[in-house]
Amino acid sequence: MSELHTVNKSPFEKSSFASCLEHVLEGSAVLLYEDGIYAATKGTAVEGKLKSAQGVKFYVLGPDLKARGLGEDRVIDGVEIVDYEAFVDLAAEHSKVVAWV
């Protein structure tokens, strides 16, 4: 079973997201939440990082997007928006969770 990586820090402020992408294996998933959600938004200077990750499924936590005033239309195509329940399901479905804090 594959791993679920989680990132909750802004990609502009910390290297958590960049480092996560350098360690994530094909077939794994990355969930962005709290300030990590900014990595999932369109038109940013770091947008290319997410887009160039091959064979990795990205998820972003909807409530954190909403809190920060960012609509679903701002999310990069292909990134799936999930709620808290789905977050828990994802954690359960994967063999383990690797948190990039």
Binding site: E13, A67, L70
Partner: protein, 136 residues
Amino acid sequence: MSEAIKKFLYLNRRAPYGTIYAWESLEVVLIGAAFDQDVSLAFLDDGVYQIVKGQDTAAIEMKNFSPTYAALGDYDVTKLYVEKESLEERGLTIDDLMDLKWEDEDEDWAEKDSIKVVSRFELARIMEGQDVVFSF
């Protein structure tokens, strides 16, 4: 004789909610505004996210403090500098920000824009012209 008025600049560099910095800064600004100084705020780096419009924190069960920025004008804090490059790096434009205004009592409460988008270089110059700079 009143003391000489000093120029205070508050640097806001963090996104809201993920950490406490944004709200702490806002509280300090509101408290400090009682001291009749020349106060301005700068939003740069992730700080520009603090004033993005349409914030709704109901689902994350935290206080949505974004409406409080609209009260700054009442506290005579009328200069909010937003760094252009920081917006651009985040795929944002001024239209994504709250329309923050202040009312000029001397001009029959005419509404004026509080936000001014400035370049990185201009912001550096603004910092240079301050007596005190607080970082959050």
